[in-house]
């Protein structure tokens, strides 16, 4: 029954003179989401609003599902569009729409009519009254409630007539591409895809880096990370996933540094490498899925040691979340099922039985000097041999 959607956006509305930039980015992102849907769509900006019109047949559920992945959208209103603005025709259409949209008529409603074409023979007040009357006549159980209605029915007379009453919540946030780019450290666990999603929600474009350690981690573990990136890309847009072969660096650390400090030193090198790629690719920050105290390497002491090597801001959107809260988000964005597949990632091999939980930065730094002879070459080789995969949403 619906042929188009009115897109509501919240925060963009207050962006003053930059507003058009945000709107254009939103249109762009909506177009990208529509590409994944069956059918053809036109996305247009008109009168300070964004409309998505289906040109011909389309799958309603699929279209809504995909619009719900576009950051910046606060609500999606499925609409009926009417070319002919003759009032009898409007009345007939409204009644027909109401009948189909609400099988249960035991409801209260209020009509919000608006005419931006002031030449229209009825003014807004008259429209409200006449449409309300028509509905009451058509459905006897229906009642008007102007203070707290179950249903707010919008009828807008513009260059066409728009009829809608439902608002499907969107993801909120700001359109991707309006806030620079950051490098996500993506591991294959539950937290890092959530972190990517959360930062992307604020309009940030995402690239990612994954540390692969063959033969200790398998091709399937890498495929899992690609799958996770594809899931995040539904929201963030295409992700450049940089795969770093980390094996030799990890082995060098294992051989030359105390085993209880392995994870911290390893993470310091991951941060360094991620930061180098981030600088090369014009990213303005790093993103990790760290959450205080979740594991030994994420205590405040450990985070301080890891953070010490970063000059770029590190964004840790999960930092104050409990595991269960992170899991809830990962379920919502569809990464949980993939995250829990049982493949080892580079963080779970070579884990000491009793890793340090309160590492001392100066000691860590001293032990890192054990690597001096080899580490620059190893890091260079790892960076030179990185593989970049462009991951698109499926």
């Amino acid at each position: 029954m619906y042929s188009s959607f009115l897109i509501k956006y919240a925060e963009i509305g207050i962006k003053g003179k930059n507003r058009y930039l945000f709107e254009n980015a939103l249109v762009q992102q909506i177009k990208y989401a529509c590409k994944r849907c069956e059918g053809e769509f036109e996305v247009r900006k008109a009168e300070g609003r964004i409309y998505v019109d289906a040109l011909g047949d389309f799958d309603y559920d699929e279209a809504v599902e995909n619009l719900k992945t576009v950051f910046g959208i606060s609500g999606i209103c499925p609409m009926i569009q009417l070319e002919d603005n003759d009032f009898e025709n409007i009345k007939k259409t409204v009644i027909d729409y109401f009948d189909k949209a609400y099988p249960d008529k035991n409801k209260t409603f209020k009509v919000f009519a608006r005419r931006s074409r002031k030449s229209y023979p009825k003014n807004s007040m008259e429209l409200n009254a006449d449409i309300g009357e028509a509905l009451l006549n058509a459905f006897s159980e229906l009642k008007v409630d102007v203070h707290d209605p179950d249903i707010c029915l919008y009828v807008e007379i513009r260059e066409k007539v728009y009829i809608y009453s439902q608002i499907i919540p969107g993801p909120g946030g700001m359109p991707v591409g309006t806030n620079g780019k950051a490098m996500l450290l993506l591991s294959g666990g539950i937290d890092s895809p959530v972190a990517g999603y959360m930062i992307s929600k604020r309009g940030v474009k995402i690239d990612a880096v994954y540390f692969h350690a063959p033969p200790y981690t398998s091709e399937r573990a890498k495929q899992k990370v690609v799958d996770l990136a594809a899931q995040v890309a539904r929201y963030s847009g295409p992700i450049y996933l940089h795969v770093i072969n980390f094996t030799d660096i990890q082995l060098a650390i294992y051989e030359k540094c105390p085993h209880d400090e392995l994870t911290i030193i390893m993470r310091r090198y991951m941060m360094r490498i991620a930061q180098t790629i981030a600088e090369e690719t014009e990213c303005l920050g790093l993103i990790t899925g760290e959450s205080i105290g979740q594991v030994a390497s994420q205590t405040m002491h450990s985070l301080a040691c890891t953070n010490d090597v970063c000059t770029m801001p590190v964004y840790r959107p999960c930092i104050g979340l409990d595991k269960q809260e992170i899991i809830s988000i990962s379920e919502k964005i569809g990464t949980y099922e993939t995250s829990i597949l049982p493949f080892e990632d580079c963080c779970t091999i070579f884990v000491a039985k009793h890793p340090v939980t309160k590492p001392n930065l100066s000691i860590i730094k001293r032990h890192e000097h054990n690597l001096d002879e080899v580490i620059d070459d190893l890091v260079k080789t790892a960076l030179d041999s990185k593989e970049t995969i462009i991951v698109k949403a499926k």
Binding site: P214, P215, Y216, T217, S218, E219, R220, L251, Y254, E255, H259, P342, E344, I349, F350, V351, A352, K353
Partner: protein, 384 residues
């Protein structure tokens, strides 16, 4: 060098199998239940396949029931018999080292009121006939014993087990999971005293998604799949004609030069074991020599996790499996290895080589060279 040593997981199809499958899909594509000529042609294909397979077992072709593979055959044998004979009793005997297709089906039956006894095995994976004799009861309706173990290559004493069963309770049926044995040995159910026998197509260079269950005449079985009444109402669903014809072609070909290919596999197995045992802290699990399966070698490499070794070998073009790949890719500890008493430190360090007639002695030599190269390197790094 590309070395595929995972033939117990699956095999490459014979080119002739691929040919016949393709031919049927494109030309004789009819539904055997259709009354027209196309249907007749398809039915003939199945009749011919049934005859070919029956002849490899020396049984009546009416005893062959086509299924979707080993797992379905096992399910049908166990559940179908359990249902059909529940008035005679609800006791079933199996072993601790069966494939999950048997063990999980037994667990399913256990939940539904059947009593399952599990036979122990010795350190070579062999059952104890004495224990079998003591476990058999008046209400034992079925004994299920695998022919060849998929992880360590033990060949169970099926004929002797059948004698014990018939002596204690002539009404008890014997089911044999021969997924790893068929195509490696001549298995004659009537001579051995087997009532039901499961076979899978893709382990013998046939197609995936097809297999059969041999059901001796006079054995009752209730269907577990219901529908259009195909295959005498025992297994509904349009027959997988290309798969069935491919399976029969594979059976025909694998049995043609069986003695030669088995001798070749034994030679390769012997060389592989000799090479492995020369290495430091490597043990071979299960039986060796001509009483064991010609194609399976289970080895534990101390100090290296099997998954790591597997991926390191993979980098050199060598495909093996960790424990039993058949049981999915979950890294879990093998029940079979535990049952034969493999030392704890080796449980997570066990890989399986499984050979087929496609392998060569050069590949074995290459694999041994690679192992000698990478094992010491991998041992430098162990998990704590």
């Amino acid at each position: 060098m590309e070395c595929y040593f995972d033939n117990s997981a699956t095999t490459r199809a014979y080119p002739q199998v691929a040919e016949i499958v393709s031919e049927i899909m494109l030309e004789d594509f009819g539904n055997p239940s259709s009354l027209h000529t196309k249907g007749m042609e398809a039915e003939n294909r199945i009749r011919h396949a049934r005859e070919t397979i029956a002849s490899t077992l020396k049984v009546d072709d009416r005893c062959i029931l086509f299924t979707s593979g080993g797992t379905e055959s096992d399910n049908m044998a166990l559940i179908g018999c359990a249902e059909a004979y529940k008035r005679s009793g609800k006791h079933i005997i199996t072993t601790r080292i069966e494939h999950p297709a048997i063990l999980e089906t037994c667990a399913y039956l256990e939940d539904r009121g059947y009593e399952i006894s599990y036979l122990d095995v010795d350190n070579k994976g062999l059952i104890d006939l004495k224990q079998l004799e003591e476990t058999l009861r008046k209400d034992t309706i079925l004994v299920s014993i695998m022919h060849t173990n998929n992880e360590i290559g033990t060949v169970e004493p099926i004929a002797q087990a059948a004698q014990v069963i018939k002596k204690v309770n002539p009404n008890t049926l014997l089911h044999v999971d021969a997924v790893q044995g068929y195509g490696k040995w001549n298995i004659y159910p009537k001579k051995l005293g087997i009532d039901l026998l499961s076979v899978s197509g893709h382990k013998i260079h046939g197609p995936k998604g097809v297999g059969f269950l041999y059901i001796a005449s006079g054995v009752k079985i209730l269907p577990i799949i219901h529908g259009g009444g195909q295959q005498k109402n025992l297994r509904s669903g349009t027959e997988n004609v290309p798969g069935i014809a491919g399976l029969a072609k594979a059976a025909e070909l694998i049995y043609k030069d069986l003695d030669i290919s088995r001798a070749n596999m034994y030679a390769m197995k012997e060389r592989l074991i000799a090479g492995l045992l020369k290495m430091d802290d490597v043990v071979v699990n299960g039986p060796v020599g001509e009483d064991s399966a010609p194609h399976i070698v289970s080895a534990s490499v101390g100090g290296i996790r099997s998954e790591v070794l597997l991926h390191a070998l993979e980098e050199k073009g060598i495909c093996v499996s960790a424990g039993s790949a058949c049981a999915s890719n979950k890294p879990s500890i093998s029940e079979t290895l535990k049952a034969i008493g493999v030392e704890k430190k080796y449980l997570d360090s066990t890989i399986r080589f499984s050979l087929s007639e496609d392998n060569t002695m050069e590949q074995i030599e290459y694999a041994l060279e690679v192992l000698e190269d990478i094992v010491p390197m991998l041992r430098r790094y162990t998990r704590h």
